[in-house]
Structure formats: C-alpha cells, structure tokens
Amino acid sequence: MTWIVPYLWLVPALPMLAAGISALLGRRSRATAAALAIGSMAISFLLSLGALIHVLTSHGGDRIFTFNFRWFQFGNEWLKLGWVLDPLTAVMLVMVTFVGLLIFLYSIGYMAHDDNFTRFFCFLALFAGAMLGVVIANSLLLLFMCWEIVGLTSYLLIGFWYHKPEAAAAAKKAFIVTRIGDLGFLLGMVWLYAQSGTLLFFDSGVGCLESSSLTHLVAHTTILGLTVSSAIGILIFCGAAGKSGQVPLHVWLPDAMEGPTPVSALIHAATMVAAGVFLIARIYPLMAAGAPLMSAYAGSLSPTIALQVVTWVGAITALFGALIAVAQFDIKRILAYSTISQLGYMMMGLGVGGVAVGMFHLITHAFFKSLLFLGAGSVIHGCAGEQDIRRMGGLHKHMRITFYTYTAGMLALCGFPLFFSGFWSKDDILRSALTWSVSRAPFYMGAFGALLTAFYMTRQVFYVFGGNNRLVATSHDDPALAAHFEDPHHHAAHHLHESPAVMTVPLVILAAFAILLGFIGTPAWPWFQSFLDGTHTTFAFSAFSGLNVLPVMASSSLLVFCGLGLGWALYGHRPIQSTQAPDALGAIQPSIFSFLSHAFYVDDLYRATLIRLNTWLSKLCDWFDRWVWNGAVQTISYFVVGIAHLDNFFDAAVVNSGFDEGCQGVSRGGQILSLLQGGQVQSYMRIIGCALIVLVLYLLWGAKI
C-alpha cells in the first residue's frame, strides 16, 4: 500500500473541498451539503484505514514515511512543507475520521430542524479537513496553519447560533484564549526554525525532530538554565495548553458549550482539544531531548524541564476540572469540565509515561466522551431543548438506548474495572505517575481525580436518568424555561421520546468501541503501546505481575467503586424530588459547593484583572494618542500659529503702521512746509531779498574789504 503515501494529502483535502463547494451552495441544498461532507469523510476514513494497514504491514525499523515539497523561497532557501505517515499519524487519522463520520451522521438528525443546515455541514467539513491536516503535517508550520484553521472553524461553530449574544461572546472567547496560547506556539516555532534551520519534522536526517538537530538543540542553554529544546518545548506547549484547555487557559471550553451538541462532541471532546495532546506527542522527541530514553512502562530517570512542566500542568488540570464538574448543573458543562480534567490526564500521561501512554487515553477518551456528548445531545433533543439536569430525570424509562449507551460511556469514563476502555488507559497513566522520578504528587492528584470523576458522573446519571421526570411537572409554570432552550424550535414540553435511529445508531457504535477499545492496550497485550513505540509484543497474562500493575489496578478500582458508592449514596439512594431541591452535596457543604460551582471564580478573576487591565490599557493608549501625542502636535501647531499671529501683528501694527506713520509724518511736514507757500508772489520775492542780503552779508563777512 505504498501508493497511499503520496496521496495522503487527499485525506484532509477531500473534506476541505466538500466545505468549499458547500460554501457556494444555497440554503436549500441541504442534502447535497450533507452528502458531500459525509461522502468525503467516508472516503477519508477508507484512506486512513489504508494508511493504517500500510504502517501495520511495514516491518523493519523505518516506519516513518514522508512526502515533502517546496512551497516558497526566501533568499537562497526554499520553505518546505510535507506530510508524514507514521504509527501516531495512522491511529489519529483513523480515530478522527471514524468519530467524525459518526458525528456527521448524528448531525443529520440533530440539526434537521435548523435553518442553517447547509452552513453547518460546510463548517464541519472544513473543520474535519483542517484537523486531518494537523494530523498528517510533517512541518510545524503546516501544523500551525491547520491548527489556526481548526481554531477558526471552532469559532464559527461555537458561534453558529450567532443571534444569541452568549454564543457570539463564547466564540470570541474561545478564539482569543487559544490565540494567547498560540502566541507562545509561534515564538517557539520561529525559535526552532532559527536553531535547526528547518521546520520539517522528518527529512532524511535533517528534520528538526531528528537526532542531528536534537543534539544541537540540547547542547545550548538559554535563559533560566533551560536547554534550548526545553525552552522551545515549553513555548509550543503554551499553544497546546490553550487548545487543550489546560489551566489557566481552560476558561473557553465550558463557554464553548453554546455551540450545537455535535460540535461539542466532535470538536470539544474528541478531536480539536485533543490536538494539543497530539501536538505534544508529535514533538515528543523535542520535549524529551537530553533526558535518557524512556519506554512506556519505566519512568525516566530525570525528565526534561519541558516534560515536567507538561506533567504538572496536566496534573493540576486533571484535579481542577474534576473538582468543578462536581458542582455544575448544566449537562454539557459537566461534560466540558470533565473533558478539561481528562485532557489534564492525557498531558500528565505524556509527561510521565511518554507518547503511547498519553495517546492511548486520547483515543479511548475520544470515543467515550463523544459518546457522552452525543448522548447528552440525544437527551437535550428528547427534552425539547432543556439542558439543566435539575429539570430532567426519569429518562431511563423513556430513552432506553440513550440510557444504556450513556451508562456505558459513563462507566468507561470513570474507569470501571476490566471491561471499559477508560480503565486500561487511565491505569497506564496512573502506573507511570506512580513511578515518576520527580514527585508522586501527580499520582495522588490523578487518583483523587479518578474518585471525583466517578462521583460526578454518577451524580449526573442519577440526576438525568434516575427517579421520575421533573420536566413535565414544572414546564407549564416556569417561563424561565424558555431561556434554557438550546434549540429555538422546541417541541411541546411533554414529548419525551427516544431520538431517531440516525442519532441512536452512532451512540451504539461508539458504546461498543468504548468497551472494546480498551482491550488493545491492556498490560496483557499492549498492542497499542507497542504499535506506537515500535516494539514487539505478545499476549501474555504474566504481564499482570509486572511492576505495580496489580496494585494500581486494585487501587484504581477501589477509587472507582468509592466514587460510585458515594454518588449513589448522595443522589441515587433517595431520588431527587423536584427542581428546586438543593443539591445533596450542596446541602452538606454549601460554601465549598458554591465555590466549585463558580469554577473557582477563575473567570471572574480574569474579568477583574486581565480583561480590565486590557481595557484600561486600550483606553490609556487611546487617551495618550488623543491628548499626549496629538496634544504635542497641537501644541506645536498652536505655537506655530501663535508665531504667525505675532508676525501678523508685527506686520500690521509695527511695520505697516510704522511705515504709515512715517508717511503721515512726511505728509504733515509737507503740510507745514506748504504754509510757506502763501500764494503771494511778493512775499516770495521778499524772502528772496532777505536771502540775498543774508548771502551778501555772509560773503562780505569773510572777505576783507
């Protein structure tokens, strides 16, 4: 299947082409738009499968296939782009196309009543194309470019219902917060380009992730004693932190739930947010450069600073997200904070355990989280747009398929032992964290987070599906209900129905994967990990007696059962009676509950500090411009105009008047002199006579007579 490598570009290009054509279609070509999107995704899926088979069947050391080409030149060099096919790419491609395809199918049912159906599929296809571009990129620049387009489509899709101010604001927030991370990404990228001379990852030995470049990068140190590779890694991690909702750049994710539920499922659960994790996995050689090589199951002796940063941030995020999810009442927000928490786990896994550990959880998470979101969408659809879990309940009777699949996903997320994929992937992470050489704190944070995960998911399931339905009772007398409706075309309130097949079939498929996918990565047969690492493995139960395997399995199972038990005790034991009833946990610990439900007031903190600072700075700059710089110019101009007035005054009053006065003087003098002219001829002659006498006297005076 080597033919697939030069044609790998089709995988992202086909959905993008579908998006381009859909953009030109009118509002009524719904079927065409959907067909284009789904068709292109299906073909991409088949091509991805082909790529996977190609990588599977290529034995030997070289399992990285690249195709590089020139793009533009500057100076004496050409900037090259390219795509790569290696195990990491292959698994990501298959996951993205498969989950994407299922969500596209689901969207046909979910968005059926929306006016802007065509536009929705156009954006979805564009997103899929860009995400696939991120996956196959062999150049950090190409990855960045597709990364930004992914951010654009996320913006467009979150703000899909643009007439809602909250949606428009949430879209802007998402773009801005991720852009903050992208600033670090850009700086890291240009730094890497400067240091290694290329942005291609793999390029016959001279790529920036290959050994010659890495040795060069490790050899130099920069500020704070970091190696250049770690510094660049941390900068690029900023971008990943933004995209993957790590603390403190997580604030956009919960607000992003303003978008339609398929968007939340695809973008904010399975794929886009995973792009950050994928990025770190992709540049893992850079992040780990300088530290002794590590494998999936043995902790590194002394991990690089970059990986330590990743781990700590991931661990904090994992705990943070789980804590907040405990106190939320919007069905999608619980899942959003859960996603934040799980992304933290993935980052932690990458930091402590390496690519295989983090990626395994990414893949399993993609399936069960999108399942949970689609299930939530089904619930919302069935409850005619209601999203507050206090107003749901009793759906296990009315929406059976949704209930069963949702429970499967929930158990996978909690990490219910043995039969659910989340268990195996989370255990991998916890096991690596346990043996992390720097500190054990991430392990404890992760373990506590696992407990909380089980707790809040149980809470959610009992609120939504357990007991009796609370929606019917209160829908008539609560006008505020209308404000919570997501879907503007809401059905009659008491119409609790299961969703149509086009929505439930993807749920079932995803549930199957949520269960079965775990089995490709168990310690007994770590096929997934070995596929990514390039090692060989066989099926052997003896692996269970390996280092820490059984203790971690036991303790994590214990934590899960504790969480489930607590959840049942507080929420399942006595069914929730009414929408106004206080939350069971909230009744016990109201202050902590309130603090958690406001998400540690992080948003408010940002609003009070950063946003206010920004607004103040912008007003200051504007004020400066208007009054200081402009004022300086105005002052100079007033000064010059003042001189002009002075000059004018001088001209008019001094010079001109002076001249005028002079002329007046001459004139007056003339007038006076003219008095001598009496007009009398004889007086003239008298004067001549006198003058004559005077002259004669004068002449005689001097002469001797």
């Binding site: 500057f74 100076g75 387009i149 730094w191 400067a194 400066f624 411009d625 710089w629």
Partner: protein, 518 residues
Amino acid sequence: MTAFPWISFLTALPLVGALVLLASGRVGKIFVRFTALAFSLAALAITLFLWLRFDSSSGGLQFQERLSWIPSLGVDYRVAIDGLGLLMLLLTSIVVPIAIIASCRIQEKVPLYYSLVLMLQTCLYGAFTALNFFHWFIFWELSLIPAFFLIRLWGGPRRSSAATQFLVYTMVGSVAMLLSFLAIFLATHKFDFIDLAAMAHSGQLMPAVIDKLDWRRFTPNHLALIVFSGAFVGFAVKVPLFPFHTWLPSAYSEAPTGTTILLTGAMSKMGVYGFLRILLPIFGAQMQEVLTPLLWLAVATIVFSAYAALAQKDLKRIFAYSSINHLGYCLLAIFAVAKFTGSDPSLTTQKYAAMNGVFLQMFSHGLTAATLFWFVAMLEKRSSGLRGLDDFGGLRKVAPVFTGLMGIALFSSLGLPGLNGFIGEFLIFKGSFPLVSWATSLAVIGLLLTALFVLGILQCVFSGPLNQKWIGFPDLTAGERIVLAPVIGLMFLLGLYPQLVLGVVNNTVIQLVQQIKF
C-alpha cells in the same frame, strides 16, 4: 533609448486620464466613473504586462530610462524598477480601481474627484519608480496635493483640520528630508539613489559629508546622525512610526472612504518603500547606531496602535490603527535587518526571510486594508453614512454573503493561515526573532490585540440579535459580488501560493540585503 519607455508611459497614463476628465465638461456621472475606471484598469493591464515581462532571475533594475536633465545639479531623469518597485506598482494598480469602485457615494464635483484620484495615481507611480532624488521628491510632495483636496472637499465633518494636519505634518517631515539630502548633495554633488547607496556601501558617503560640512560644534558622528535623522523623520511620518502617527486616524476617518483606500493601500507604502530604497542602503550605518531606540519605537508602534484600535468605536478609526499596527511589523523587520552586517550565513538567511516578509506584508496589507475599507464603504452606502461599532448588530441574518466576505477580509487582516496576511507576518517573525529576540517577543502582543478587535467587530456588527433598524439591509448585489470575487480570490491565492509574489521579488531581496553592508 531603443526600448519603449514603459514606465514613463505608465506614469503619464493616469495623468492623461485626469486631464480628460477635467476637460470633459457636462457629461454624466456614470461616464466619468467609467472613464476613470477604464484608465485605472488600463494602468493595471500595463503593470501586469510589466510583471510578466520582468526577469525575476536577475533582481536588478529593469526597464530603465535615463535622460540627462540638469547635469550641473547632478539631476537625471532616471526611472527603473526592480522587484520592490514592481511590487509597489502592482499594488497601486490594484488599489486604485478598488478605490474608484468604492467611491460611488460621491455625488458632487464628480469629475474633479476622479481626476484627483488619477493624479494621485500618477504621483504614486512616479514615486515608486524614480531613482533620482530630484524628481522622486517632486512626486513625493505632489502626491500630497490631490490627497489634501480629496480629504478637504469630500470628507467628513472635521475634514478641514484633518486635511490640514495631514498636509502640514507630512510636509514638515519632507522638509527635514529635503534638508538632509541637500546636505548630502553639497557634500557629494549627487542626487542619484543608486550612486549614493554605492558610496555608502563603500564607506565613502559619511566621510565626504563630514568633510564638506564642517560644523565645528558637532562631532563627525553626531553630524552623520543629524543628517540621518532628517531623512528618517520624513519617512517616519509617512509610514507612520510611533510617535509620529497621530495624523493618521483623523485623516483616514475624515477622508471619503474611496480616498482612505488610496491612503492606506498605496500611500502608506511610500513610507516603507522609502525606508527600503533610500534609508537602509544610504544610512544603514547610522540606523545601526540608534537601533535600540528604533526597535523600541517599532514595538511601541505595533503594541500601542493595536491597543488604541481596541478602544475605538468608529470602524474606520479601528482599521486606521490596524494599518499602523501592520506596518509596524514591516518596520520591526527592517530594523532587525539593520542590526548585523557581515556575511554570517545563518544571519543572512534570517535577513532574507525578514525582508521577504516585509515585501509580502506590504503587498498583502495593501490589498487587505483596501478591501476592508471597501466593505466599510458598502456598509456606509447601505446605512447612509453610519459606521460606528454600536450602530449595527446581527447583520449576518439579513446579509450573510456580506458577512462571509467581510469576514474573510477581517480574518486575513488577523493573519489567518490560508489567507494572504499570514505568510508575511510569519516570515517577519521568523527572520526577526533570531536577530532581535526581545523586540519580536513583545511584538506578538500585537497579534493578540488584532484578534481582539477584529473579533470585536464581527461580534458587534454581525452577530447578536438583529438590530431592528436594519431589517431591510440589502445583501451584496450581483455586481458587487462579481467585482469582489477577484479580490477575495487573490487573497486566497496569495495565502496558498505566495511563491507567486516571492518568486518575483526574491532576487531583489537578496541584492538589497547584500547591499546593506557598511
């Protein structure tokens, strides 16, 4: 002179059009508009012809015309284009038709308006191709006059003060530049840019200046810096560089939108062109001496103008500040290139990247800014002159195509990959970061702030509930879509295939960077 003088012909063509329009007497407005458009499109055709005939493998001066004019003053009529000049010609040729089409709201003294626009086009062509200070300065100064009248006669409520400030401020800078060049002339008896650059390259220029203008009060170094600062002020005001930028927001917002397109699309590039063609080759050594303050100014330009844009409520003022911000990146790269001399290959490749980025950013910013103001013009046409951020709301519902296309232009301004704004900025950052790391790191704040106000525009004007006032807001007509399509298409084309431009200018860039050694 055996070859046909294409450049002089191109320069004279819009002037002929202007005279035709002035002499046209009582003809209909439609006829006037079409004639103006026809002349500008003819100029575009000739420019495209030059583009295709240009030999991009050499990168030197081509289509040169040289006539001896006033030998005793060292003045020749010398015009030629290399990659830089050709790029600027092409930009002007694209921006002027856009400006003409966007001026459809002008109803009084229409022939005069369009003839002033065409005169401005001639002056721009002249300034971008002249190689002798004498006629270059003539065109540089002459371009202010049509611009002044365009703002003064057809502008907004505060047009008088804006136009006067624009004219006087720019002219003050030009006077300083004139003094510097006269000083140089007195010393070297040359006005030719290429000769002066060669003298600077061989290190003879400043000693000659210091020798001939022996002011005992100043040290030689200070004298050289004074001469440099005169020329620097002239260009710094034009670009504009902080803090000489305060004329720009009022000039752009008070000018009629068609004129703003010209101001931002082409005239602002005259400043950057001046930096590249004149300041850097001739005064490179002086630039290197004062580099740190210059870098601070460039970073201030980028960051403060973006912050100020965030605080504006008038769409045109936002885009005006955004222009300052984008050109700040160009200046950052130019200063970065001036930092190191010598031929260290790793540094040279960064300089090539930065310089290519400047070229591409100039071109793509001209295109994007012109398109954005064009959209503002269309908005004003539909709203009878309103263009505040808070005047609209939810327009996407009634005008989706308008939203989509303006959104593309806005995202191009933001630097989204796949559109024309990204590669220029990326190359600038890529080239500048190794050379001036801290300045570049601070400059990325500008990217964030640009995203903030661009998305703010999208949110306030197009999203949210539909403002009931605009229920009848018409979407783009078929005619508007047809004329917008090539421009939007060009944005995508440049974003996906920048080699189209870079292939032509690359050798010029190499030569330009090689020349800056002192």
